[in-house]
């Protein structure tokens, strides 16, 4: 069980990293729009230019 004394602090370090990354993402505005990403998936945007299909 003594491995826990290593693993738990390690997990806490990772946790700190995750929180830091999230804070950075929020501050850089990536979470400012919480509504559009949810509907973006249903919008047609996978057509590549020049493939000749008229839509």
């Amino acid at each position: 069980m003594s491995i826990l004394y290593v693993l738990i602090p390690l997990a806490l370090l990772l946790l700190g990293g995750a929180v830091w990354a999230f804070f950075w993402a929020v501050s850089s505005g990536q979470f400012d729009d919480l509504d559009t990403p949810a509907v973006r998936i249903i919008m047609d945007d996978d057509q590549k230019p020049g493939d000749g299909n008229e839509t």
């Binding site: 069980m1 004394y5 230019p49 008229e54 839509t55």
Partner: protein
């Protein structure tokens, strides 16, 4: 539309028949539609960035096409422009630009890398969601106009923004709330994991050292949750204490604070139990509830915020010595401004030259573009669609229709409905009562079983937190308000939803409310042969310039009008004035002092007299709004009594009433009479909704229980109506009634739930049947149920 053989390789617009321009990109001949696109495409190719074409998504036609008229960016190098649009940070200059036409990440890449190649540019960051570009450069190496010009040369016309446009307060609030939510949720998950170990240890036995370790780790993770994520609760509890109005955050803070301190003490002294799991769980669920409530609140602001961001930041002002580009903040009433096709209109004004169609969808909800020509009003924030317009500014900044709408919705946001204030007051008594109960429980348990006293008291504090009770009403009202604004009904008074739900009768004004409010003169009968029809039109037009009554529009003439002295408006009756020393009157038969014409026409008649001698009468007709009949029918179907109150003549009102199936109507009413009718109905216990013009019916609207007024640009600012209809359609009225009823139903459900929960949970907790963690779940779940129930309103059809 795809980029095929017959569309421009660069901007995807169809290629004109007589155009044979091509350019070579990646070794292939590509057709382009104009020299501008050719230049841009070659510029991109020569800069070695032609992979943009391979990476981009299907372009929207016309995007990226350079404007036909080049803007003179040099004007932005003046000190005054620089101080308006840029900031100095260190030795660098920084500006935020709005870049239209960004539709995929390839665009961001193209823009950022093009700018980074300019000498002296230190940073360029584009947010494709908000279309905002932050660019920083060294003023010694580059000028502002170079940066702007470079962007324009690759087909993205930039619009400089004044410093703080991105940092909207609600956006910052959301960012902080998200961070707190994340800290609380991650902290809760971690602590929960350690708690499983500790609980298992209680049953199966655990190494004392390991137990201590797990407690210390829990303490480490819980500390930021309490100090950072739960900070708003402590702050609000402190504010409440200082104002001597203990809010629901006080018991929350006491519970979180004492449980945390007691757990820390137990960790240090190796005490019997820690409550870190309960603390983090409690904070997480509370934060989640607040976050959802905040989102409901913000959604109603989003629309108006989106509106304000539509305003351009610069305008092209023309004066005797040519045109200059100025920041919009420098425009004043009377300035003449040119608006190019595709640009947003910077201020309210009147078209003085040109004709074009204008998109006002965001202001009025009207999807079809409106034709505008000389003399027509245009509103700030709407988009000029096809041709060059020249306008004279009448109102700027916060005085514009757009500004007024933002201000009104602001007012609604801060006005607390009486209902909510009541709930708050009740909650604050409740808080004091709960604290007393908790003290009594603590005392009794201390006498009976001192070792459990702390735990049981903690449970009582947590489980009885009146959060659900305090959230029940505001959450429902916020959700309802935001849904109504999507339906183009702007609620400016917090009490409107409640009073609308209790309404028993609807009273309508006719002109401009049930009808379109764009009347036309359909007949003109001259009674005195010494005047021509044209004379009568001129005099009437001159008199009506003073009136804001909807009928006045019918008399509008573009010709030179005679000067009027002592112009006077008798609300609901008519206008009078002196022209060349003779007293003219225009209005109802009684007002002008003329005998009636004897013609019992069913249209509105307006009489013109000079020195009490009838000269002519006009027949004015105003078409019904297309959905008036259907809306009134569905209101009637809901069991509401309908009535029509109008200042018009009996026949005209009867005709409208018959067409709409309204049985009760009152014709030829002055505003005072209308008010008397409303007050009589109110004394019979009826609750009246008055739908009428915000200006002419202001006293009537004020007398009704709920007032609804259509938004007419010019008069919007003075309206005091509880609800403003932004669109041209009456149909949202039915939805509003149905929705307010649903809102009150949800409020009742929420309150019932909160009260039932608290009365059941309190005795259980006081008797020691509820451990702190269960109390945290119970209380939080109850708040979440209330908020989620309220959020159902934002999907109301």
């Amino acid at each position: 539309m795809m980029v095929g053989a017959d569309t421009c390789f660069h901007c995807a617009l169809p290629i004109p028949a007589n155009c044979n321009l091509t350019t070579t990109i990646d070794g292939e001949q590509r057709p382009v539609c104009c020299p501008g696109c050719k230049a841009v495409a070659e510029l991109i190719r020569d800069a070695g960035m032609s992979q943009y074409y391979a990476q981009r998504e299907a372009p929207e036609p016309g995007v990226g096409r350079p404007p036909a008229e080049a803007t003179e960016w040099q004007v932005f190098d003046s000190t005054e422009m620089l101080s308006a649009f840029t900031e100095s940070t260190g030795g660098d200059t920084e500006a935020t630009l709005y870049v239209g036409g960004v539709y995929c990440s390839a665009c961001s890449w193209l823009i950022e890398s093009t700018l980074m190649r300019l000498p002296g540019v230190a940073a360029a960051e584009l947010n494709p969601v908000t279309h905002r570009l932050r660019v920083r450069w060294q003023p010694a190496e580059n000028s502002f106009s170079d940066v702007l010009g470079t962007l324009a040369s690759i087909g993205y016309e930039p619009q400089p923004l004044t410093g703080d446009s991105e940092a909207r307060p609600e956006m910052l609030e959301q960012r902080t709330a998200l961070k707190r939510l994340l800290v609380a949720s991650l902290g809760m998950m971690q602590v929960m994991m350690f708690a499983v170990g500790l609980y298992a240890g209680d049953f199966q036995g655990i190494d004392a050292q390991m137990q201590r370790f797990l407690r210390v780790v829990s303490l480490v993770v819980t500390t930021p949750v309490v100090l950072y994520a739960a900070r708003p609760f402590f702050a609000s509890a402190w504010r409440g204490l200082r104002a001597r109005k203990p809010g629901m955050d006080l018991p929350v803070s006491i519970a979180v604070g004492t449980a945390f301190v007691a757990s820390v003490y137990a960790t240090i002294t190796n005490g019997p139990a820690v409550w870190f799991d309960s603390v983090t769980m409690f904070v997480f669920f509370l934060t989640l509830g607040r976050f959802l409530e905040m989102r409901a609140r913000h959604r109603s602001i989003d629309r108006t915020a989106a509106l304000s961001s539509l305003l351009p930041n610069t305008a092209t002002r023309i004066s005797a010595d040519g045109s200059t580009i100025v920041p919009v903040s420098q425009l004043v009433a009377g300035d003449r401004v040119v608006i190019r096709a595709g640009d947003a209109i910077p201020a309210d004004g009147v078209v003085v030259k040109g004709a074009s169609s204008v998109d006002e969808a965001l202001l009025t909800g009207e999807a079809a573009p409106q034709q505008k020509s000389t003399g027509d009003p245009v509103a700030a924030g709407s988009i000029n669609l096809d041709r060059l317009l020249e306008m004279q500014v009448t109102r700027t900044g916060s005085d514009t229709t757009l500004g007024t709408i933002s201000r009104l919705s602001e007012r609604a946001r801060y006005a607390r409905p009486a209902f909510v204030t009541l709930a708050d007051r009740v909650a604050s008594y409740l808080v004091v009562a709960l604290l007393l109960v908790a003290t009594v429980v603590a005392f009794i348990w201390y006498l009976v079983a001192p070792e459990r006293a702390f735990e049981v008291t903690l449970s009582v504090l947590v489980v009885t937190c009146p959060c659900a009770l305090a959230l029940a009403t505001p959450a429902a009202f916020a959700a309802a308000g935001s849904r109504l604004s999507q339906l183009h009904l702007l609620v400016t008074n917090g009490n409107a939803i409640e009073s609308l739900a209790r309404a028993t009768s609807f009273m309508f004004d006719k002109t401009g409310t049930l009808t379109r409010g764009v009347p036309k003169i359909t007949a003109l009968v001259v009674l005195d042969n010494s005047y021509t029809e044209y004379d009568c039109r001129l005099v009437a037009a001159a008199l009506e310039t003073a009136s804001s009554h909807p009928l006045a529009q019918a008399f509008k003439l573009d010709d030179t009008l005679p000067a009027v002295d002592e112009q006077h408006v008798e609300v609901g009756q008519g206008v009078s004035g002196t022209i060349d020393g003779r007293c003219w009157r225009l209005g109802s038969a009684a007002f002008v002092g003329a005998g009636t014409s004897g013609n019992d026409s069913s249209t509105t008649q307006v009489f013109l007299s000079v020195d009490n001698h009838a000269v002519a009468w006009f027949e004015v007709e105003d078409a019904l709004r297309p959905d008036a009949a259907a809306t009134l029918e569905s209101l009637q179907a809901r069991g509401l009594r309908l009535a029509l109150l109008s200042g018009d003549n009996e026949a005209a009102v009867a005709k409208v009433a018959a067409a709409l199936g309204i049985e009760e109507f009152h014709a030829a009413c002055s505003p005072q009479q209308k008010l008397a009718i409303i007050e009589a109905a109110q004394s019979n216990g009826e609750r009246i909704v008055m739908v009428g013009d915000g200006i002419n019916d202001a006293p009537v609207l004020a007398g009704a229980d709920t007032s609804i007024a259509p938004a007419h640009g010019a008069t919007l600012a003075q309206t005091s109506a509880d609800v403003i209809m932004l669109g041209d359609s009456l149909a949202p009225l039915t939805t509003a009634v149905a929705m307010s009823a649903q809102t009150m139903r949800i409020v009742r459900q929420n309150l019932t739930w909160a009260i039932v929960y608290n009365t059941l949970a309190l005795p259980l907790a006081a008797l020691g049947f509820v451990p702190p963690w269960a109390a945290a779940i119970g209380m939080s779940a109850s708040s979440l149920i209330v908020v989620l129930n309220a959020l159902r309103l934002s999907r109301f059809e």
